[in-house]
Amino acid sequence: MSEPTSVEREQEAPLMREAATGPLLPRWFTTLFYVIFIPFCVYSVFYITNSLVMQHRLRAAIAVVKGSLETEPVDLRSTEGQAVLEVLKAQLLESFLYASQELLQDEEKDERMARALALRRAIGWGKVSAERDVIERILDNMEEDGSVDAGFTVDEQMQQILETMVAERRADPEMTYVEDRITDVLEWVAQGHPGQPKGPERRRLAALQEGYAKKVFQSAEAEALRQLAQEWAADPNPVEREAAAAFAEMLAQRRAELSPEAEGLCSQQADRWEGLYHRGMVLIATIGRQLAAQLAEEGVFLDHPHIYQYVSLLNHRYDDVRSEVAAGTWLLRHNQFTIRFLSYFATKTTINPFLAVETVRLTREEHQRLMRHANNRRMREAVALLGRIGVDYISNSDRYDLGVSEPDQFVRRFIISALSEVADEEVISDLVETALRDMREADLARPGPPRFFEETA
C-alpha cells in the first residue's frame, strides 16, 4: 500500500483529536431538557397518529359517499350512509372543508367522469375528424391572401360537411366576430369559392384547425378510453368489440366512426357513469349543507377563505349541487364574509381575462365561453341569495351579528348598493329587480320609518 496522501491524512484527523470534554450544558439543565421534550415528543406522536387516522377516516367517508368506478354512491338513509354521516359530523370543520374540496376538484379526475367524457368525445369523433380533414384540405389549397387554388373543387361529401358546419355556427349566438368571419369563409368555400376571396383568412382557419387539434383524447380521457378499449375488446358482445376497434383508431388520431348501435351503447354508458358521478356530487353537496347548518348552529369559526371557496361553488354545473350549496350558503348568512363574497360574485359581471386563457383542451374562445356560463350561473345564484339575505336582515336585523361596526351601512353597501349597481345586467336583471322589490317591501313592512329605502319610500 502506498503512503497516504495529505488528503487521506487529513481525513484521518478526527482520530488525532482529543476526546470530547463532555456536555457543556450543566447536567441539571440537560436532565430538565429531557424531562420536558421527551414527553412532548411522545404526545406529538400520539397527536399526529390520531390526526393521520382522522384524515384517513374522513377521506374514506367522502370516498364512500362519492362512490367510484366499482362502487355506487352510498344512500345517506342506509345504515352505511348513517355511519358515514356520523364519522363526518364528528369532525365538523374538517369534514366541511373536505366536502368543499371534493366539489372543487376537476371532474375528469374522477374515473367515472373521465369515462363519460371519453365516450361522449368518441361519439362526436366521426364528425370532428371529418370536419378536421375538410379544414385540412382547404388549408392545403388556400393562399395567405385567402384565395383558393383554381383547381380546388369541393365534392358532395365535403360540401355537406361544410354546410352543416356553417349552419351550426350561424345558429350559435355566442360566436365572436372572428369566428363569424371564419364561418363566412367556410360558406364561401362551400359555395364553390365564387368571386373575390374573403380576405386573408388562412390564419384564422389555421386557428380553427388548432382548435380541432385540441379535440383529441388527452390525459385522463385518453387513459379512460384506452381502458374501455381493452375491456370491450374482450367482451362477447359484437357491438362492444366494434366500438373497441373504433376506439383504437381514435386513440391513434385516425378518422373513425361508430355505428348507430355502438353510438347508442356509448351514449348509454356515458349517461350511466355521469349519473353515478352526479349522484355522488349531489350527496357531497348535501352533506356540505348539513355540516354548514351544524357549523352555524354551534358557532364554529370559519376562516374567510373557506367561506369563499364554498360560495364560489355556486357556479357548479349541476343544478342540484348548486341548490344544495345555495342552501348551505343561506345557513352561513350571519357571517359578514358570506355577504361580502356573495356581493363580490353578484357584481362580477365579466370573466377574468387572466384566467380565461387557451388550455390544452380548449381554445381561448371556448374557455371564455365556459367561464362566462359558469360566471352567469354564479351571478344568478348570488343575486337570489343576496336578495333573500337582504329581506331577512331587514326583517330580523337583531338576529344578525356581522362583526362590523355599522351593520346597516354594511348591508346597504354590500347588498342594496351592490345589487343596484348591476340592475341593468341582462343576465340577472330579473332577479335583481325581484330582490330589490322584496327588500323594499320588507323595509316598508317593518314598524317605524323605512331604514334602507328611505329616498324611494
Binding site: 488528503v7 481525513q11 482520530l15 482529543e18 470530547a20 421534550f37 393521520l52 361580502r340 380565461a356
Partner: protein
C-alpha cells in the same frame, strides 16, 4: 476542480488553537445599536434601492464598536467581533426578511395588489397571514391592529422554529460534515477573513489597507448613488438621480430593431456588482455573462419570431419584458435547468461521497468527538431538539391547514429535510454552494390535489439546514465558542422582532408602502405577479398556471443542463461555466455585464499585478470594505430622510 483540490483547501485554512466566549455586554449593546439605529435605515434602503444594509451594516457596526472600544481603552477580541457580526446579521434578517412578502408591509401590499385581484386569490389569504378584506387594519394603516396579532404570533413562532432548526439539525450537519468528514467549506473563511481584517486593525496589515480602499470607494460611490437621490428628495419635489437606480433600462429604446424584440436590455449601475465580479469564480461569471447577455440577446428574438414568446408587445420595459417572457418560456426553462442542477448535484455528491467512503474505510475510522472548549452540546440534545421542533411544526401546520395531508408534512419533516440538509451541507462543504430539489414543495402542493391558497403560507417543515453547517464552520474558524452564538440569538431575537415591528409601523404610517419608494414601486408588482401566479396552481382557476408550465420547455431546460455538463466534462472545461450559464439564463441579466468586466479585469490585470493568490485574498476584504463604505453613507442619508419625513408628516 478535482475533489483532492477541494479537500486540500481544508489544510490551508488556519484552524483556531483555542476557543473563547464572544457574548457579553459589548455584543448586547451592538445588538441594540443595530435594532434601534441601523434597522430603520436598512428598511428604508431596502424599499428605496432594493438593497438591505445587511453586510454593510455588519461592518459599520463593527467599525463603530472598534472605535468606541479604542476610546474606552479596551479592545474587541476576534470572538467578540464575530458575535457582533452574527448578532447584527441576525437582527437585520429577522426584521427584514429576504423576501419582501414575508414582511407585514409586504402582505398589506400583496393582499390589495392588482396581481392578487387578477388571479382571484386576494379573498383566499387566511386570517393568520393577513387581516381579512375590509379590515380596519388597512384603513388605519396600523400594523399593531388586533387583526395582525395572529400573524405576529405566528411570526414569533416561526422565528423560534428557525433558531431551533439552526441549533439542532444545522449543528448536527456541521458535526457530521466538518468534524467527521473534514470537508473544507471554502466560502466559510471569507466571513472570518473580514473579521480578522478588523481585529488586526491596530497593525498596518494588507487586510486593513484593502478594507480601507474598499471603504473609500464605497463612500465616494455611496455619495453619488445613495446620498444624492435620498437627500435631494428632502429639498426637491423630485429626487435627483445622478445614476439610474438600480439599472439603466434601454429595452424600449432598441426594441424597434428586429433583433432586439422581446429582449430585456438593462445594465446594473451598482458598483457592488464589480466587487462581486472580483469575488466570484471567473468561469462562473463567464457563464453568467454568456447566458444572460448573449443567450437572451440571441434566443429571445428567435423565440419571439417562432411564436413562443406571445405575451411580449412593443412598449414593454425591462421588468415587463422579463415578466412576459417568464410566463411564455423562461419560467418553464428555469424549472428544467433547476432539475438539471439538482440531478448533477446529486450525481457529483454521490460520486464524491462514495469515493470518500471507500478511502475512509481503508484508512480511517470516523469519530464524532468535538475539539476541547468549542462549546459543543451533546448530539442527543440537538437530535431531540430537531425531533421535537419538527413534531411541533407539523402539529401547528395541521392546525392551520387541517385538510392538507399530514403524511406529506411527515415526509417533508423527517424524510426530505434531513436528507436534503445533509446533501446541502456536503455541497457547502465541498463547493461553498448547495442545490436542493427544485420546486419540490410546489409539486407536493399541486399533486396533493389541494385546493386553497393557505397552504402556500403554512409552515411546512421543509427547509435546508445545510447552510447551518457552513455557519458553524465560520464560527469555529474565528475561535468563538458556539454557546456565544446560542446566547446571542436567544437574547436578540425578541429585541429584533419588537424593533422590527416598531419601525415597520412607523414607515407604514408615513406612507402606504410601496408608494414613495422607487425600487419597491417597480419590483413589488412583478414579484406579486409571480407569487400570485404560483398560487393559482392550487385554486380552481389554474388555467394560466397550467399554460405557463410547459413540459417541452422544462425538458429542454433539463436536457440543456445535463448535456452541457457532459460536454464540458468531456472537454475538460470548468463545469462552473455551466452553472454560470444556468444562473445567467434564469436570473436577472442586468448585473451580468458589470460582473463580466470585473472578472476580466481581475483575471487579466489584477492577478498579474498582485499575483493570483494575493489577489484572491484581497477581493473578499475589498468587497467587505466597499459594503461598509456605502453602508455608512446610506445610513447617514437615510437618517436625515427619516427625520424629515417624520417631522413633515401631514395628518390627512
Amino acid at each position: 476542480m478535482p475533489e483532492e483540490d477541494y479537500l486540500r483547501l481544508r489544510e490551508e485554512q488556519e484552524e483556531p488553537t483555542e476557543f473563547a466566549e464572544g457574548w457579553g455586554v459589548k455584543a448586547l449593546l451592538a445588538g441594540l445599536f443595530v435594532a434601534f439605529v441601523v434597522m430603520p435605515g436598512s428598511m428604508f434602503m431596502w424599499l428605496m434601492l432594493g438593497q438591505q444594509l445587511g453586510t454593510p451594516a455588519v461592518w459599520v457596526t463593527l467599525i463603530i464598536f472598534l472605535e468606541i472600544a479604542k476610546r474606552c481603552r479596551t479592545t474587541l477580541t476576534r470572538q467578540e467581533m464575530f458575535v457582533i457580526f452574527s448578532v447584527t446579521w441576525g437582527v437585520l434578517t429577522t426584521a427584514i426578511p429576504v423576501w419582501w412578502m414575508d414582511t407585514f408591509v409586504g402582505m398589506t401590499y400583496f393582499v390589495r395588489s392588482d396581481a392578487a385581484v387578477q388571479f382571484e386569490i386576494a379573498n383566499q389569504i387566511p386570517f393568520w397571514k393577513a387581516p381579512p378584506p375590509g379590515s380596519e387594519a388597512y384603513i388605519q394603516r396600523s400594523l399593531l391592529h388586533r387583526d395582525w396579532w395572529p400573524q405576529l404570533a405566528l411570526m414569533a413562532l416561526f422565528i423560534v422554529w428557525g433558531r431551533l432548526s439552526f441549533f439542532s439539525l444545522g449543528y448536527i450537519m456541521f458535526r457530521v460534515t466538518s468534524d467527521v468528514e473534514r470537508l473544507p467549506f471554502p466560502l466559510a473563511p471569507i466571513a472570518a477573513k473580514g473579521v480578522t481584517a478588523l481585529a488586526e486593525s491596530d497593525e498596518e496589515t494588507w487586510r486593513w489597507r484593502c478594507f480601507s480602499v474598499g471603504s473609500s470607494v464605497g463612500i465616494v460611490f455611496g455619495l453619488i448613488y445613495v446620498a444624492v437621490p435620498t437627500l435631494s428628495g428632502v429639498f426637491l419635489r423630485k429626487p435627483l438621480y445622478l445614476l439610474p437606480v438600480p439599472f439603466y433600462d434601454f429595452t424600449t429604446k432598441l426594441q424597434d430593431v428586429g433583433w432586439f424584440r422581446a429582449v430585456p436590455l438593462a445594465i446594473g449601475t451598482d458598483l457592488g456588482l464589480i466587487f462581486w465580479g472580483f469575488v466570484l469564480p471567473f468561469w462562473m461569471v463567464m457563464g453568467q455573462f454568456t447566458a444572460a447577455v448573449l443567450g437572451r440577446l440571441v434566443l429571445n428574438p428567435i423565440l419571439y419570431r417562432v411564436g413562443v414568446l406571445k405575451l411580449w408587445s412593443p412598449g414593454m420595459d425591462y421588468i415587463q419584458t422579463g415578466l412576459a417572457n417568464q410566463f411564455d418560456f423562461w419560467l418553464s426553462f428555469a424549472v428544467g435547468t433547476a432539475v438539471a442542477i439538482a440531478l448533477l448535484g446529486f450525481y457529483t455528491s454521490f460520486r464524491q461521497a462514495m469515493k470518500a467512503q471507500r478511502e475512509r474505510t481503508k484508512t480511517t475510522v470516523s469519530t464524532l468527538a468535538p475539539p476541547k472548549g468549542r462549546g459543543d452540546v451533546p448530539i442527543t440534545v440537538a437530535l431531540l431538539f430537531y425531533v421535537a421542533g419538527t413534531f411541533w411544526v407539523i402539529m401547528l401546520c395541521h392546525w392551520l391547514v387541517p385538510k392538507f395531508p399530514i403524511w406529506i408534512l411527515l415526509a417533508f419533516g423527517f424524510g426530505y429535510t434531513p436528507v436534503m440538509s445533509y446533501v446541502s451541507a456536503r455541497l457547502h462543504g465541498l463547493t461553498g454552494h448547495a442545490v436542493g430539489i427544485p420546486y419540490a414543495l410546489e409539486a407536493a402542493f399541486v399533486l396533493s390535489g389541494y385546493k386553497g391558497v393557505d397552504i402556500w403560507y403554512a409552515p411546512v417543515p421543509m427547509y435546508d439546514a445545510g447552510w447551518g453547517a457552513r455557519h458553524f464552520r465560520e464560527i469555529e474558524l474565528t475561535g468563538t465558542k458556539f454557546t456565544s452564538v446560542f446566547k446571542a440569538q436567544l437574547v436578540m431575537a425578541p429585541i429584533a422582532v419588537g424593533a422590527g415591528l416598531l419601525f415597520w409601523s412607523f414607515l407604514y404610517k408615513i406612507s402606504d408602502i410601496p408608494e414613495d419608494y422607487p425600487f419597491a414601486m417597480r419590483f413589488w408588482p412583478r414579484d406579486a405577479q409571480m407569487r400570485a401566479f404560483w398560487m393559482t396552481a392550487t385554486t380552481t382557476g389554474n388555467a394560466f398556471f397550467l399554460k405557463a408550465i410547459n413540459w417541452r420547455f422544462i425538458s429542454a431546460g433539463t436536457i440543456y443542463g445535463v448535456s452541457a455538463y457532459t460536454i464540458l466534462r468531456l472537454l475538460g472545461a470548468p463545469t462552473l461555466f455551466l452553472y454560470g450559464t444556468i444562473t445567467g439564463l434564469v436570473g436577472d441579466p442586468a448585473g451580468a455585464m458589470p460582473m463580466f468586466g470585473a472578472a476580466l479585469l481581475g483575471r487579466f490585470y489584477m492577478q498579474k499585478v498582485f499575483g493570483a493568490e494575493r489577489w484572491g485574498n484581497f477581493t473578499p476584504v475589498l468587497a467587505a470594505g466597499y459594503g461598509a463604505g456605502i453602508g455608512l453613507v446610506g445610513m447617514g442619508a437615510v437618517a436625515i430622510m427619516l427625520i424629515h419625513k417624520a417631522i413633515t408628516m401631514v395628518p390627512f
